[in-house]
Symmetry: C2
Subunit: 296 residues, 2 copies
């Protein structure tokens, strides 16, 4: 369990892989855009040319990619992990994907003697850098336990949620909550500001009571100081909510509030805020209301 | 400032008035249903027959009533405070009402030498009993400062939000957030449970990250233990959201998420949950999903 692979060196993957290296693990990495591997090579990681080569060289392979199609390609494609598997390999997918994808990967790889976990994370870039992510893990409890030291190297908590797909289910429900709570704060804040209330004072008051939320805590200062640099982009949240709505459809649960929030993110993307932080949706309300939320 | 009046001895008013008595204030009280005054009489309060009589006997009068019409009647009706006013009287309305009502009362009473504050509270019965409410105050800053010892006797924080109506504006925006955050948790929790996730574990995981909310913290155990006794009823929240939507209409701000949440509360009331706690809306989702959220 010392030869670790890492595939996907994006906003989250790069700091996660860096933390594994810093804890002394031997790392073999692959990223589609090769130069993103350079900082890890300097820290001692071995760079290879395909997911297949990562799988062949490692005991445990982590993947973190931005969409279901990319995960399927890396897992099951021509140069994919499937082509480099060996009995005893553990594959841990930290991407936010549909639980259906998580289950499918387990179904294909398990008969080859490979163990699979879905282990998406909460937290964004700052938490990834600080090594304080939370992992939500689906798969066999025994495999989860064996991977705990690796989760600990990158995060502060790892919960075993259930069987294959349970991590992905939890992540989508978690992001559903986060997105709705952000819109909750956005609609309330614009109302308060148009009514003449100081946005800092409003945030302070609502944060002290039953209306408090993590999204208000995390996004209020970004909104008030007009900082729409993405910690988590509108486009990415919109993708996750699409997966959540697919999930609700599969489970046959009407989700009117989630659906409305998804429509608001689509409006935000139409207005050109897809690559900004998801909290830029406030600008849609500001335009409608003819006010701007800023420091007084 | 030692002769205090209190009008409206409901779920919130009774413990608030009790706390004023316990802090040594002389209290004169009126309630439409007279026997609700009995516990206060035993503690030394003087009972009178009308809001007019309360106003005539007091330096400061608090009101906390359930709807705009009741507030207008108590303030401006035939036996109302208006009929018993004297120069120097301060009237503090803690009801959750439309900012328009708050402003109207100030407009009528101020020319008579009466000072008026709108000072709705966050917190429900347990916080009222413990004396840890938060007051959101609109009106003159000087009058807010003079009333601070009284707010302190009933609560732990009192914020001056701005001019007349600013307290009511803040309260409606606050309740908008609380209601949306509750629906956010409800949709996510039912999704997770139907996907086979343990509701206690799910709540623990989401409460540790960006998806956390005060409503998830406050309502999860009530939902899981099927306790729908009202801390705050569906009917009352539905009334508040109606006021919030009126406010959004006046301010000309589209509020698609708030509007959808209001529709969900109407569905909950149609299903017979109007007098239960607002978290009983989960039962609508459970019926649609064919699952029940309970302890595993």
């Amino acid at each position: 369990m010392n030869r670790i692979g890492f595939i996907g060196l994006g906003t989250m993957g790069l700091p996660m892989a860096t933390n594994l290296l810093k804890k002394g693990y031997h790392l073999t990495v692959y990223n589609r855009t090769k130069q993103k591997s350079d900082p890890l090579q300097e820290l001692g990681a071995k760079i290879v040319n395909s997911p297949k080569d990562v799988a062949a060289a490692c005991d445990v392979v982590f993947t973190i990619l931005t969409a279901d199609a990319a995960v399927e390609e890396v897992m099951l494609g021509e140069q994919g992990i499937l082509q480099g598997v060996h009995a005893g390999l553990i594959v841990v997918d930290c991407s936010t994907v549909s639980p259906t994808t998580s289950k499918k990967i387990a179904q294909v790889l398990q008969p080859l003697g490979v163990e699979v976990l879905d282990a998406p994370v909460t937290g964004s870039e700052p938490q990834a850098i600080a090594g304080v992510l939370t992992f939500m893990v689906g798969g066999k409890h025994e495999i989860y336990e064996r991977c705990l030291p690796l989760f600990d190297a990158m995060g502060q908590k790892a919960y075993h949620m259930g069987n294959h797909g349970a991590g992905s289910y939890t992540k989508l429900a978690n992001n559903t909550m986060a997105a709705i709570n952000l819109l909750s704060f956005s609609e309330s804040l614009v109302m308060a500001v148009k009514a003449g209330i100081n946005p800092d004072l409003f945030t302070q008051v609502v944060s002290g009571g039953g209306a408090r939320s993590g999204m208000a805590d995390n996004k209020a200062q970004k909104i008030i100081h007009r900082d729409f640099q993405p910690n988590f982009s509108t486009a990415l949240m919109n993708k996750d909510l699409g997966l959540a709505i697919n999930l609700a459809n599969e489970l046959q649960i009407p989700v009117p509030v989630l659906s409305t929030v998804k429509e608001m993110l689509k409006i935000s993307i139409s207005n050109g805020y897809g690559n900004e932080d998801v909290c830029s949706v406030i600008k849609c309300y500001e335009q409608w209301a003819g006010v701007e939320v800023h420091e007084l």
